[in-house]
Symmetry: C2
Subunit: 177 residues, 2 copies
């Protein structure tokens, strides 16, 4: 058996803040969560259907005036499941860094290829770091909401690590040349 479906927890977490449609959930995941978790319609919609059937969510179909739209709400049972997960001791943290994979096997080709790949990585990280820093700044200046501390801490994780990536990139390029 593959491990317990994690997208369920992402959905329950998001719905514990606000009622959302599947499409909204995708947008939220693509936002602040994006750099440490991913989601797709292909696993969001089936998960919503399952959790509605097992009573973790309820749905509310709206089509009056506009187009069809299914908004999901978390139930007390859903909140309980979310809390239980938060309190579980084990958590799987995994990197899948194709840049590192390529570098590890860099000896199979010219050094220049590896340097170039690090440069591509660096550019991407610099882009993403800008976004993360703007998240942090926005959250620093608006601590009214009690959840903002948690959002700030995750964004700050990104900033710290991305800065470490850039520091490493400089060193790695120097050592290759």
């Amino acid at each position: 058996m593959a491990r317990k479906r994690k997208i369920d927890m992402v959905i329950l977490g998001l719905l514990s803040h606000e009622n959302l449609t599947g499409y909204d959930i995708k947008k939220r995941i693509d936002g602040a969560i994006n750099f440490f978790w991913k989601g797709s319609f292909g696993n969001i919609y089936p998960a919503l259907k399952d959790m509605e059937q097992t009573g973790l969510l309820t749905k509310k179909e709206e089509s009056a005036g506009g187009r069809e739209k299914i908004t999901y709400h978390i139930t007390d049972e859903g909140k309980k499941v979310l809390k239980n997960w938060l309190r579980e001791e084990q958590a799987s943290n995994e990197l899948k860094y194709e840049t590192l994979l390529k570098l590890f096997f860099g000896g199979a080709d010219n050094k220049k290829i590896s340097v170039h790949n690090i440069e591509i990585f660096e550019e991407q990280i610099k882009e993403d770091l800008k976004v993360l820093k703007s998240y942090c700044k926005a959250l620093e200046n608006a601590p009214e909401n009690k959840d903002h501390l948690y959002f700030y801490l995750t964004a700050s994780f990104g900033v710290e690590t991305y800065e470490a990536y850039l520091k490493w990139s400089t060193k790695a390029k120097r050592m290759l040349q």
Copy 2:
């Protein structure tokens, strides 16, 4: 269609250094590669079968004396595929950090839970950091092999980022208390 199978590149990369069995490949992935890529028998064996059929690998069955054992060898075509991948511009780098996911939704429960989860994370990272540092030290003192620079750089990436994780952990715990 799901994206191009990445385990193929891991296998080709490993086989570009030495001939291995599926079981050996799993061990290699669980070793130095483990912290930035994962693999399982469930995707290694099917990939080996496929790549043997498409001519990227050849196999050599040994059962004389001992038990059955299938050693795989990379072909020139396989080496070409590996090089082409190294030269591809795009690379997907992804984190899946359940610790951060839990922290992001930490507001749904007591602060103590979040602090505890960070502590669990910290302990794991400290363990892994020891291993990464020993890799680095071993590779620093043995630069005879031209591939060692590449292995060193990937391990060094781990050290840099894991140290950033620990720095962040201290800060995050302080801010939660």
